[in-house]
């Protein structure tokens, strides 16, 4: 752990993410205003003023407060959707690659079918049926993104299971579960974690996109994507409305990417010393 503190990737990434997490957790205490409170007097108030540090939007809501509350939606969507997709995808990929045969064929054709659907089309269809909302957005993301993890893990599994150390474990009498999790998965995790950190960043953006299209989070709940979409209309007159939520997204994405880089190196004993 002491070594980690000397790694700028870890330090910067951790500080950024902790900051965002703190915003999400302590939002009511940190936000200077009620995020939904529209004050007509403050319509498109310029930033860096005493009342509105980051300005206000078209109906006079404080942008800083909305960004602080918006971290809740963005973090939840980004982390939960990726965790879900990773969990499902990794298990399916591991099982398909390890056991092979008909099971592998079935699971991978399922993945192919999944891949052949454009994401937006599927998102629109699913949300049209089950209705919008944050958890439904997460569900749609996990539904479409498990494939990426499944394919990577399956590929890794196929090559790892022929390696001698895996055969050695079978030779020692290790159970399937032990061989799969201790020997194969442990060695297959590096690309998965890298993909996952990028995935969190990507899903924060996707949520923003879906919310922008009106398919995402309830518009009354502050979210960075929604703010970005609102701000787009005023970009010429009031740059701060879209810029600050955009920066929030950038900072969060950067934080996850830095942590991902650090994690990738840390997971591999060959580069961790």
């Amino acid at each position: 752990m002491r070594r980690a503190l000397h790694d700028p990737s870890f330090v910067i990434g951790a500080v950024l993410i902790l900051g965002v997490v703190a915003c999400a957790v302590f939002a009511p205490a940190l936000a200077p205003h009620e995020p939904g409170l529209a004050t007509l007097r403050s319509r498109l108030a310029t930033p860096f003023s005493a009342t509105h540090v980051l300005g206000a939007d078209a109906i006079g809501r404080d942008i800083l407060s909305r960004i602080i509350f918006g971290a809740r939606v963005s973090l939840t969507v980004g982390v939960v959707s990726v965790a879900l997709a990773m969990l499902i995808g990794t298990l399916i990929g591991l099982v398909a690659g390890y056991f092979g045969g008909l099971l592998d064929t079935l699971l991978m054709r399922l993945a192919d079918i999944q891949l052949s659907f454009p994401f937006i089309l599927l998102a629109i269809t699913v949300i049209a049926v089950i209705g919008p909302g944050m958890w439904k957005v997460i569900f749609v993301m996990a539904l479409t993104q498990w494939v990426q993890y499944a394919r990577i893990v399956r590929g890794q599994t196929l090559s790892l299971k022929e390696r001698e150390f895996v055969q050695a474990a079978s030779g020692l009498g290790a159970s399937h579960a032990r061989v799969m999790f201790q020997h194969i998965l442990l060695n297959a995790l590096t690309p998965v974690t890298v993909l996952a950190t990028l995935g969190i960043a990507n899903n924060i953006l996707l949520e923003a996109g879906l919310t922008f299209l009106g398919l995402g989070v309830d518009p009354t709940i502050p979210s960075w994507g929604g703010m970005l979409a609102d701000g787009r209309n005023y970009i010429e007159r009031a740059w701060w409305v879209a810029t600050f939520p955009g920066l929030a997204i950038t900072v969060t994405v950067l934080g996850f990417n830095l942590l991902g880089d650090w994690l990738r190196d840390r997971l591999d004993p060959r580069t961790s010393t």
């Binding site: 390696r163 001698e164 150390f165 055969q167 050695a168 474990a169 079978s170 030779g171 020692l172 009498g173 290790a174 159970s175 032990r178 201790q182 020997h183 442990l186 060695n187 591999d268 004993p269 060959r270």
Partner: protein, 346 residues
């Protein structure tokens, strides 16, 4: 960390017991009619279009405490044979009697118990150790799997094993990439010994190592054999290495056994023309010694479509028309009950 001088393990006592019990002619392993075909699939419905006949009708025995060398060129099926015996790959046909029990027919669960008694040392020490596990975890894994030792007892056992293979206990927290090839192979050997096996297949354990390291590892195996009374199938493509460690040698060619003889006998009195060719290929470190070299022409034929009759006939200096039609049986040579050959001319 200090290592107790006498690590209380069941190992040493057990081994002394087996050594004293080891009547030299007690059979430990009996291989009967072992075959391994790898199907080649092709066409629309993945039909089997051909078979790679890697191992064809192998029969041999290994006595308790004996080291049997298995030699042959690349592609002769020796590694496949070793793995089929341990069921790391499933044999196509045949019986492998281990202490009288046919392990080929054992259920998966029952086989898992038998894995404790039969171990393998791999050829490539860089591929055979999990890069994500510490040396202590690698060696101790078998103890966990078979519920043999936990916590402190496990640590003591791992330390003991490390010292036994010429490393030290402090190495257990390190990772495989921190070690050289020879050291890694020692770790591989320690892993195989962890479960206190009765039988070890050493699959070309030194051919991936530098020559200077080879001798050290072979010496280690020799010492371990003497100390622990190990029974071993030692696979190699180099007769020089095998001569040193083996009691008995099996010569394989294209999946079939060509000759079986006690090591001394084989080196001084080879009967099969293939054995002769292999022996004359062993370099002698003395330029003044002249000898007749039997040089084999061409490559080993494809095991997908092996020659009819005797598989060696296409490269054999003695081959005649008859060799095309007769598959030579493995017969006793003269009156020697330990020497067998598969050649109709000798």
């Amino acid at each position: 960390m200090t290592i107790p001088e006498q690590v209380p393990t069941t190992v040493s006592s057990h081994h002394q017991e087996t050594t004293t019990r080891a009547l030299r002619d007690e059979l430990l392993l009996e291989v009967k009619g072992l075959r391994k075909y790898f199907p080649i699939r092709g066409g629309v419905f993945s039909r089997v279009v051909a078979n790679v006949k890697a191992v064809e009708d192998m029969n041999f025995t290994i006595k308790r405490g004996e080291v049997v060398g298995l030699v042959g060129e690349s592609g002769s099926g020796k590694t496949t044979a070793g793995r089929a015996i341990l069921r790391l790959i499933e044999p196509t046909a045949g019986e492998v009697l281990f202490d009288g029990v046919d392990v080929v027919t054992l259920s998966k669960a029952k086989m898992r118990e038998y894995r404790r008694k039969m171990q393998i040392i791999f050829q490539d020490p860089f591929a055979s150790l999990n890069p994500r596990m510490s040396v202590g975890d690698i060696i101790g894994e078998a103890l966990t799997i078979h519920n043999l030792a936990h916590g402190k007892a496990k640590e003591a056992r791992v330390a003991d094993l490390l010292e036994r293979v010429g490393m030290n206990a402090g190495h257990m927290r390190r990772y495989p990439h921190e070690f050289s090839g020879g050291q890694r192979q020692r770790i591989g050997i320690a892993r195989a010994l962890a479960v206190d096996p009765d039988f070890i297949v050493a699959d070309e354990p030194v051919s991936a190592l530098d020559v200077s390291i080879q001798a050290q590892v072979v010496n280690l195996l020799q010492d371990l054999k003497d100390e622990l009374g190990l029974t071993m199938l030692f696979i190699a493509h180099d007769l020089g290495v095998v001569e040193y460690i083996s009691d008995k040698v099996i010569v394989m060619y294209l999946g079939r056994i060509m000759e079986i003889a006690p090591a001394k006998e084989l080196y001084h009195n080879p009967v099969h023309p293939y054995t002769e060719a292999l022996l004359t290929a062993v370099p002698i470190p003395d330029p003044t010694i002249k000898r007749e070299r039997v040089i084999l022409q061409g490559d080993i034929p494809s095991p997908i479509n092996p020659p009819s009759g005797c598989v060696f006939r296409t490269r054999c200096p003695l081959a005649t028309e008859e060799c095309k039609h007769v598959v030579p049986p493995l017969e006793q040579v003269g009156t020697d009950p330990n020497h067998f050959k598969a050649c109709i001319h000798r």
